[in-house]
């Protein structure tokens, strides 16, 4: 009788369903996965080491490049760690802006995740719809920060600038005629908040559309129900956070349990799964998008109220942390000195260590910062949510068919920039 051996195959690093450069070594017994060994680090850029050679402020843009589908959330955790070390108060308006942008980011992230997850396991259309909505939200990113992806909008002590009063407009060119441009610009006549509000009014209908496509879809359920089941105890032991943990039925959300910024002032619900499989995690993400939409609406209401409540500065007036206004810098000697020192030498952060964590769309994103009092961090450790999730691939994929590996990679919301750092 012929000898039967297990197959070992490489999934990636250039596989379209591997979401980047993941090399997954799969050991197969026929079509059943016996062992999955993810090899990561192909996108390792040593962000933490780079941060040690940059000033505290220069590190902010590097954070965008970690999880490149939820940029502002990464920055948020970093600036929170720096603010904790500096003991700086963030103006209330900046806190609302941050919460609003975080939730916009959450929708962006989940749209990408659900779209590509569906694409990976055979539902081509989803990604086309989700990218339609992502386009609007990226325009929001562009309007506030000038960049569609790598925003660099948050600063220690607040945000870079206040929300813009007008949205950028489309212009007629050889691809878009006057009629198309008029239609596209219709929602962009007012301020950023008007545009975003228009989006939040439309968005629940879109989520209904996604659900029509997927939630009761027989093929989608065949591919996700009962795949990659994780029990609540295992989810905790494996270091799961975010939708992965909530999908397993553990009610844990940092926005509720350890509220930061103004999350204790906004009203939202935390969805929790039951079975801990890919399908429940999908449902959790769908519901999180609806809740994020609710939070964005509440933030718009607060920010728009431009009388006593909503107005105010968006960055701290501590001149050792944040620069003075451009105008003052041109006329005041002291402001000029502050500006010069801040952008040549950088801010000095008192010695100590701090860990700040936020509820990132993918889970708990934490920044552990150690300072020795210098103008550069002594050590930054970035706790990315994808890292422990990917480490659990072996446990989740074991005993499943090879085609389910794609479903499992999709459900852990893998972004290699975040995992490899």
């Amino acid at each position: 009788m012929a000898e039967i051996r297990n197959y070992t195959i490489n999934f990636g690093p250039q596989h379209p369903a591997a979401h980047g450069v993941l090399r997954l070594v799969l050991e197969l017994d026929g079509e059943v996965i016996v062992r999955a060994d993810p090899h990561i680090g192909l996108l390792h850029r040593a962000t933490e080491k780079l941060a040690e050679t940059r000033t505290w402020l220069q590190t902010v843009p590097y954070l965008d490049r970690l999880d490149y589908v939820s940029m502002m959330c990464n920055e948020h955790a970093y600036v929170m760690a720096v603010e904790k070390l500096l003991s700086v108060e963030v103006p209330i308006r900046a806190q609302y802006i941050r919460v609003m942008m975080d939730e916009v980011t959450r929708i962006l992230n989940h749209l990408l995740n659900i779209g590509t997850h569906a694409l990976d396991i055979g539902a081509m259309t989803m990604v086309l719809y989700t990218f339609r909505e992502r386009e609007d939200l990226m325009d929001v990113y562009e309007a506030v920060s000038g960049a569609r992806l790598h925003a660099a909008y948050y600063r220690p002590g607040g945000v870079y600038r206040d929300l813009p009063d007008r949205m950028p407009q489309y212009e007629v060119n050889k691809f878009k005629n006057a009629e198309t441009v008029r239609r596209l610009n219709e929602a962009r006549q007012g301020s950023l908040l008007d545009f975003l509000e228009d989006f939040t009014n439309r968005f629940p209908t879109y989520v209904d559309e996604y659900e029509t496509l997927l939630t009761d879809n027989r093929i989608w359920k065949q591919r996700t129900v009962g795949i990659g089941v994780v029990s609540p105890e295992r989810a905790l032991a494996l270091g799961f956070t975010g939708p992965m943990l909530r999908g397993s039925g553990v009610e844990w959300d940092l926005r509720k349990k350890q509220p930061y910024e103004v999350y204790d002032r906004v009203d939202f619900d935390v969805p929790v799964g039951v079975n801990g499989d890919c399908y429940d995690r999908y449902l959790v993400r769908i519901e999180e998008m609806r809740q994020a939409n609710r939070i964005v609406k509440q933030c718009i209401d607060w920010l728009r109220n431009d009388s006593a409540k909503g107005a105010g500065p968006v960055i701290t007036d501590n001149r050792k942390v944040a620069p003075p206004s451009r105008e003052k810098m041109k006329t005041g000697m002291e402001d000029l000195i502050h500006h010069f020192k801040l952008f040549t030498e950088g801010m000095h952060v008192p010695p100590g260590e701090a860990y700040a964590a936020i509820e990132h769309p993918k889970g708990e994103f934490g920044v552990y910062a150690i300072s020795d009092g210098g103008n550069k961090p002594y050590r930054i450790k970035l706790r990315s949510p994808g890292f422990p999730h990917l480490a659990a691939t072996d446990e989740m994929a074991k005993g499943h068919m090879i085609a389910d590996a794609t479903a499992i990679i999709g459900t852990i919301d893998l972004v290699l920039g975040d995992t490899d750092r």
Binding site: L236, A237, K257, G374, K376, P388
Partner: protein, 201 residues
Amino acid sequence: MASRLESLCQNLQTVLGDRIAGINTALGEVTLEVAAEHYLEVARTLRDHPDLRFEQLVDLTGVDYSTWGDGAWKGLRFAAVCHLLSVSRNVRLRLRAFAADDGFPVLPSLVQLWNSANWYEREAFDLYGILFEGHPDLRRILTDYGFVGHPFRKDFPISGHVEMRYDPEQRRVVYQPVTIEPREVTPRIIREENYGDAEHG
């Protein structure tokens, strides 16, 4: 919040007693320091004791303290720092243990307690060269296959030691010593306390 941290500190004192090498609360976070020989045992107590119950290891990282404060550091060089989270009691704890030997840092592995430690310890081994005794699969994780050295140690230059390029004559990829010059735009400075305050001139 403050009372919760105080009660956590008290619980730690009563449960762990003289196994604590240091405990302090700063910026709303509790840091617990233990000696390397108590590290595993303390971690087990932290997970299992009914008054502590840290179910989750959120993060584990290596730290190289050798250049801290521009030479002000007198203690041991390598430490493993864990961030623990108790989901049931909603508190966090930082646990730090220094490896006894600077030349050959070894610490016990926590994989048997929290499975999430598996990759974190591989990472700390890869980047800092801290060996975790009892780890089932201590391979490099983030650096390239066949990488030499531990890149996050403070004596490892930011530009590395080797660079890789395709050599058209040999028709293969070759490694060679780095050709770029190290460059520092903004020097690292530690100022004295109250530097730049108005009343200090």
